[in-house]
Chain length 253, copies 6
Amino acid sequence: MRIDGRKPNETREISIERHYIKHAEGSVLISVGDTKVICTVTVEDKVPPFLRNSGTGWITAEYGMLPRSTGTRNQREATRGKVGGRTMEIQRLIGRALRSVVDLKALGEKTLWIDCDVIQADGGTRTASITGAFVALVDALYARMRDGALSTMPVTDFLAATSVGVVGGTPVLDLRYEEDSSAKVDMNIVMTGAGKFVELQGTGEDEPFSMEELNELIALGKHGVEYLISKQKEALGEIANLITDKANATTGA
Amino acid sequence: MRIDGRKPNETREISIERHYIKHAEGSVLISVGDTKVICTVTVEDKVPPFLRNSGTGWITAEYGMLPRSTGTRNQREATRGKVGGRTMEIQRLIGRALRSVVDLKALGEKTLWIDCDVIQADGGTRTASITGAFVALVDALYARMRDGALSTMPVTDFLAATSVGVVGGTPVLDLRYEEDSSAKVDMNIVMTGAGKFVELQGTGEDEPFSMEELNELIALGKHGVEYLISKQKEALGEIANLITDKANATTGA
Amino acid sequence: MRIDGRKPNETREISIERHYIKHAEGSVLISVGDTKVICTVTVEDKVPPFLRNSGTGWITAEYGMLPRSTGTRNQREATRGKVGGRTMEIQRLIGRALRSVVDLKALGEKTLWIDCDVIQADGGTRTASITGAFVALVDALYARMRDGALSTMPVTDFLAATSVGVVGGTPVLDLRYEEDSSAKVDMNIVMTGAGKFVELQGTGEDEPFSMEELNELIALGKHGVEYLISKQKEALGEIANLITDKANATTGA
Amino acid sequence: MRIDGRKPNETREISIERHYIKHAEGSVLISVGDTKVICTVTVEDKVPPFLRNSGTGWITAEYGMLPRSTGTRNQREATRGKVGGRTMEIQRLIGRALRSVVDLKALGEKTLWIDCDVIQADGGTRTASITGAFVALVDALYARMRDGALSTMPVTDFLAATSVGVVGGTPVLDLRYEEDSSAKVDMNIVMTGAGKFVELQGTGEDEPFSMEELNELIALGKHGVEYLISKQKEALGEIANLITDKANATTGA
Amino acid sequence: MRIDGRKPNETREISIERHYIKHAEGSVLISVGDTKVICTVTVEDKVPPFLRNSGTGWITAEYGMLPRSTGTRNQREATRGKVGGRTMEIQRLIGRALRSVVDLKALGEKTLWIDCDVIQADGGTRTASITGAFVALVDALYARMRDGALSTMPVTDFLAATSVGVVGGTPVLDLRYEEDSSAKVDMNIVMTGAGKFVELQGTGEDEPFSMEELNELIALGKHGVEYLISKQKEALGEIANLITDKANATTGA
Amino acid sequence: MRIDGRKPNETREISIERHYIKHAEGSVLISVGDTKVICTVTVEDKVPPFLRNSGTGWITAEYGMLPRSTGTRNQREATRGKVGGRTMEIQRLIGRALRSVVDLKALGEKTLWIDCDVIQADGGTRTASITGAFVALVDALYARMRDGALSTMPVTDFLAATSVGVVGGTPVLDLRYEEDSSAKVDMNIVMTGAGKFVELQGTGEDEPFSMEELNELIALGKHGVEYLISKQKEALGEIANLITDKANATTGA
């Protein structure tokens, strides 16, 4: 039995609130249990130097935590004067993940700035960021379709992420902070609507893990991501069809 | 007639939501129209070096804006690697303002960390920060009273802040961003429940202002602060009495 | 009676030495009692990106203190690797103040760099910087008129600044460091030759102040600024008339 | 057929040169094909603050590339004034990996500083760093055993790392730079002598990957790590037995 | 004939104004022609970590240039956020030079902070800094003798510095900026009262120099330093004897 | 007798291994006793802004030490976030030295990036860097001649550097670290094949030195540089003639 009474393969309660910040082209407040992240997407009509005149767009992500999003106050990175290693790792992960389901050629020479800011943290902030940012990104691109700047939705499939781990000897899905800090094995899984892996990052710093454990964790993660994608579809309503159609076209479904 | 139909001496709609972030000792989401700021207060049981063994506490404030809290995305200060001048000015202002209504001797050797993070900006973010942080600070200290770490509420009076300015020749209260950017004179006023000034910062960069204008602006500001303090009292409910009693004792009211 | 025998409404001895640094277009050593600041003005024939092709000029200011300008050595900001909050606040203040009396359209696409370096500090360094920089700026622009780069003096009025405060219960003018550190209320006033406010920054961190105190402080400040402007005129000699004429034309005097 | 004629499951030529830098407690030059990394291990008799008086040691890693280790010169991170995201990610990975096979309690309050500096890069620098640093770490600890500072070898198992990826549709082992840059899927695998996973990091930024591909990649990686561990044993000679014994004791082999 | 009419072996006009900044333990304004440097010396009653409990003192130097000390404005190092290579080189040179004539054991566990700030530059700022700082250092230590903190003057000999160079084929003494920028060979010489070298830094970036040229330059430098030391003695008056006596005792003169 | 049995005028064993790093246009591993430095030269087809459209090239150098190149680990400058004063001094020295023997006009608008990375240090790292970088530079330029980008070798003469010092009262050549740390006088000498000085940097921080000592040190240095240049010629083989011819042409030999 888990600390909050969940079964091993159960996620926490998920909510996705769209249009959360009035200024951003796309914005979402995602809650995964007590983890709450504001995800915004900004569309900029230029690309980094290495893509100029390539006809190709780019997606870059930044991530931050409010000082009291955590149990004890953590110092602002702005005050410290540098972005820490953990933050950089997460920023790079979010960027790679979202780029994997956007056709950057179809996007054209635009940059999508993904900003994920954790206002309350209880484990799984990087995976919640990816799941929420995906919805904000779709909204931002949809806004661009409506105003004529894009003729087609350049998103090729759904994308969500969750964490899994071995806690007290049992593989479990969607770890809260207390579970995460006592987990022997810890894995983040980013998957597409088609059930393929975009990122798989497992670490057994405290105890190496076996092939069997890996397989169990992957099965839990797949289950979790499927549920998260169902919530993304629910949140997006009709707009979801634009992506489903595209994904089906690609896979021939 | 103002852009949103308000009268010159009218504030925007105010809401103060307490206990907004579960981890912080005190936390508030304050909305002043479309300006929304998360204010948290952390109580730390130590003081900066210059106060060690003085029996006196300290209050320090930090301020940040999410990248898309504004109409166009502004770069993260963490990414730039330094805190800008505007942010520093605001941080120093918030700290000074709150210190003016806390009896630091009665607080004892504790540091209160005020964090104000703007999630959506529409003018007046620094004054909203002060007004919201005051409520979060009272909550944080009240929590410390309940758990026995403080025997008395060390807050000596209410404190709120608002902005006033001369827009299109007319002095007006509580400027939205559009008003603020076209104002010839711009002033921030921080006042106590007793109607005294804690900070008065007026600037006439585009057009110097006269003594008459100054007096009109101050009258508007006083009116605005009184209304904000009434909203703080409403939000705090019974806890407000702890401060009212203290303030009355001080002024002999 | 004040520590140096002055009356409450008396300034310290003022001297303004022009052409102090041979390389700069305008340069002044201003002494306000023992506070000594080197102010230089550099004219650069380009503007920041946001003003390119606007036909409009810009004024920006930087401020520094030599390590031993103060009673105990303060670490160099260059060595610390960042400019502190107090410095940024002062830099922004000096820039805003001087922009308020220069017709930036008439200046054309030039940037005036104001550098104020405190070589000896005894209170009031930011107000001495503004007062001194004004004279250096006039000299720099006058040099440009003589070499034909400007056809008219783009300065619209005189400008000076002073500090006032409540020390031991008494409002006083032009505080020395010892007075400043014990003042309950502290205010900086920047005014024009026409007697209008450009900046008013009062803080009652230790004790909030009333409307009556505010009025007394403003009266003292006005008196001080008038005296400082008389010293600026004296220092500038005939050149002063170029500004007096302009100011009169504007106000219809 | 691969660009250098290797079969899909073939590693490049491996060499491990011990005692490469005379000053370091442990030091290795590892070559994996044309990738060459100097790995040094420094033993420091103190621990970071969070471990003081815990009786537990720590391992931390730093990684760098010489400017011309790569085809085009990359700017020094010292000159840029900050460590980039990729470097931080790698440093954190190396540290976690090595901590997983060291009994930090048995190490006692010491810090092992791992430094991996790439002098020539041709793909797989992070995995070569882990593989080489493991040998340097064993040497550093063995030196400490000989001088009596440690009574037992605190290393619990062998550890090596390799990269695998899908290149031109085929899963291959130990990618050179040219392969790496055209790979659709890219995975780093860190495994122990007992064949368990310490880290598994797969990314399908360009093309998500299926469960089948994952299994093929893992099989290749396992094969590669086994070969690398055989080379580590060869390099360490008799000292290798100290670890083999320990690992057998743990697994009951 | 040189640009300002001097003979090859002639220095510019020298003046040394003591007690220039009221707060510092020792302070000097040195003018070498149009080069003007404020040198202050601060005595701190502690030493850097590497000297704690050694009974030995330390001398460290910092150097800066005001932005308009030069013909075109140079950006503040505080604003750039880092100290440049030239500044670091000069700081290290000044520190080494002054340490060479102070008996750090006799000084005891104190740190002398030398600050040299160039307010106007016309070549030779580093050598003027050394020459001026020497006098400020003697004043600071003399003040400590008078207040009983030191029983003896720990300065072992006089010390001054000058520049020499080959300009237009002719070796010359004490180069102005215009000469310096066209010199083929450029050398700084720091010497003691006893005529020994403390630092000799010659560079022939534009044209390597021969042994004969070296000897001519050294002769000029020796002549210049002797004159500078005579000016230091003149400025110090009777205090100079404290050092002359010490130097004679050491050399047996 | 010196610690390693050498005579005062004897250098350590020298080896120069060319083509050490496969990616760089020129690269050398130089060993001077136990001091080992990797020197690479990168040719970039552009110049810094101040040389654009001048037809003139540039040479710039960077220097680093691996953390365990020294007896105790030194912190990475990348981690500290800034390049230290010693490093900057050495970088500037290497750049100046190499520019003195390259005809930058003949080089054309190219920048040569010199990177010197110390992998093992035992005194004399800066002089070994210069001596090794010279060979790498010749190789890089020769490669450019072969591919037709340069029609002539723009190197005007050989260049090498060594250190000399007074150890235990005796002037000695090519100091090891132990000698260097106990030397009273320490001097670096950079000379050309024609026997002229490019840089001469002597410091007598612990004990000023006389003209006689200077002459002895210079004689030793000249002897050492001649030997180093003979080793450079040996290493370069036939390519050396390209420079010898040029140098002879210049000096009329």
